[in-house]
Amino acid sequence: MDIWNEVGWLLPQLILILFVLLLPAMDYLFRNDKRPLAWITLVPLLTLSALVVSWLFFGEGSFAASKVPYMQVDAFSGLFMLVFLVVGIVVVLSSPEFIKKDKNQGEYYALILLAITGMTVVAEAVDLIALFVGLEIAGISSFALAGFRKSEKRSSEAATKYFIIGGFSSALTLFSISLFYGVAGTTNIAAIAGELAAPSAWITESQPMLLLALVLLIAGLGFKIAMVPFHMWAPDVYEGAPTPISGLLAAASKKMGFAALFRVFLIGVLAVKTDWEVVIGAMAIITMTVGNLIAVSQTNIKRMLAYSSVAQAGYIMIALPVGTEYALAGGMFHILTHAFMKSGAFMVVAAMGVVMIGEKLDDFKGLNKRSPFLAFAMTIFLLSLAGIPPLAGFASKFVLFSSAVYTSLDPGPSWLIWLAIAGVLNSALSLYYYARVIKYMYMDKGPEETVKVPPMTAAAIVFALAMVFIIGLFPDQFVSVCQDAAGAFPGLPFGGPE
């Protein structure tokens, strides 16, 4: 099987694409009950995640190495792939009930898989071309997903906004890539780094262009991760999009942005001494602070979660200026836990949507009476987001912030400690709005009639919940996998305890 040998490394993408093509057709097979579509969608997701887990956690059956210089299969991409797949599982599980009454369900699942395909491409990309292609595959699918509920004004509006800003940002990204290509003469990230490290006359001469390229790239990728001030679309889109899709955007799409950012900055631009650490550090602090501050004053839970994920992006960005292996591991660990807790929280909201409770904060009043399960799950997700031990969010924030503390101690620069302090203070600030939701659920009076959570949504939530507890209580394995993933980046100082 020569062919197989050639494309084996593309196996995950191929499987996903296969199902992408199958699903719209399947739509016609299931006339009345469309739920089997979700089961079918889960097939590739579960299979692939099983493969990735056995590869990453148990060292069994590693993926075939890439045959092209554009993409690379390593622990880093594996971990991100796992995140995307797992979020996909959670989203798909909670979807059938949510879109029960909608048309074109086959396309819905197909688009989800397509978006995930794009994300996996980004995770593996080591070349700007592949990176851009991946970003666009994921991006365009999610534009469509955001507008999936065509009958709803808000869904359409979300899609429009997402599309306009998304298109604008991809133009920025592409222009930036073109400038990088012009300056360095290559689109391979590692090669760019090599060129910049030993600048030719042309490169020295075109420093302004490089600066522009860098800024454009920050803006373009900053859009994906919802970095302030490129975050404005996020709350609107998260609010308007169907809730499971909001979960997908917050928990997966944003992580794709980080995958790109890590690759480009930690490998590619490391050599560009434009002191970008300070810039990213400042933006990290601004992002978390602005996100949390605005989240406090929200009345819609989805908007609140959107701002909260803006803030979480700020935390993860700490990994960049610290720039050590340990910090990167911390960042990825937080990406992993954030995927569970944020998607879990969105799925609770989705479940509430399914049972017609609504998504205003006021709708949470007395939720404990109506559905103790939802209230409990939401409480755990929120506390985990706030970083309360022994939940997952605490473990990952701990590693992340401690990397900043460590590097500030040795070898410095010492201002990095302010990243940890800002993160810590912001965690306290975020507790304010999380605790308010908890208060609504447990301490306020609301409607009394109990609701029944549909089993598949419940399964999604239970899965996320279990992971939040498991990671929180036994972070050991996860930390070491993240460290392996970070180890895939050559040349980073270790910057943490062995």
């Binding site: 700007l128 071309i129 851009f132 292609v133 666009e136 365009i140 534009f143 469509a144 507008g147 065509k150 009958s151 709803e152 004004k153 808000r154 359409s156 509006e157 979300a158 899609a159 429009t160 906004k161 599309f163 306009i164 298109g167 604008f168 991809s170 133009a171 920025l172 592409l174 222009f175 890539i177 073109s178 400038l179 290509y181 012009g182 003469g185 290559t186 689109t187 030719s200 042309w202 262009m209 709350p235 609107d236 889109v237 609010e239 308007g240």
Partner: protein, 106 residues
């Protein structure tokens, strides 16, 4: 040969025009077109840099041109999805004036 700077300035101008259009034009279709202009500005860059590669870096390289092809394809997909979205928005709002599409805010 025309100096590479000319190309860069030209594409940058194009890019700025596109960006200006995205920010100021009310009509969603026009906004979409402006995004296309921005993408094309980047394409010009890619092609130009690819063509000048030997001058600038001493070796020939066509990956820029390949990249441009990719991006044209992507832009096409984007336009397709974009038009569909604009269409569905028009159905709900009876307008494609982006100023008026603002239920979701704050």
């Amino acid at each position: 040969m025309i100096p590479i700077e000319y190309w860069v300035i030209f594409s940058s101008l194009l890019f700025c025009i596109g960006a200006y259009g995205v920010i100021t034009r009310r009509n969603a279709i026009v906004v979409l077109m402006c995004i296309e202009i921005m993408l094309n500005a980047a394409n010009i860059n890619l092609v130009a840099f690819s063509a000048y590669h030997t001058t600038l870096h001493g070796v020939a390289d066509t990956s820029g041109q390949v990249f441009a092809l990719f991006s044209i394809a992507i832009a096409a997909a984007e336009v397709a999805v974009g038009l569909a979205i604009i269409l569905s928005v028009y159905r709900r709002y009876q307008t494609i004036d982006v100023d008026k599409i603002n239920i979701l805010r704050w």
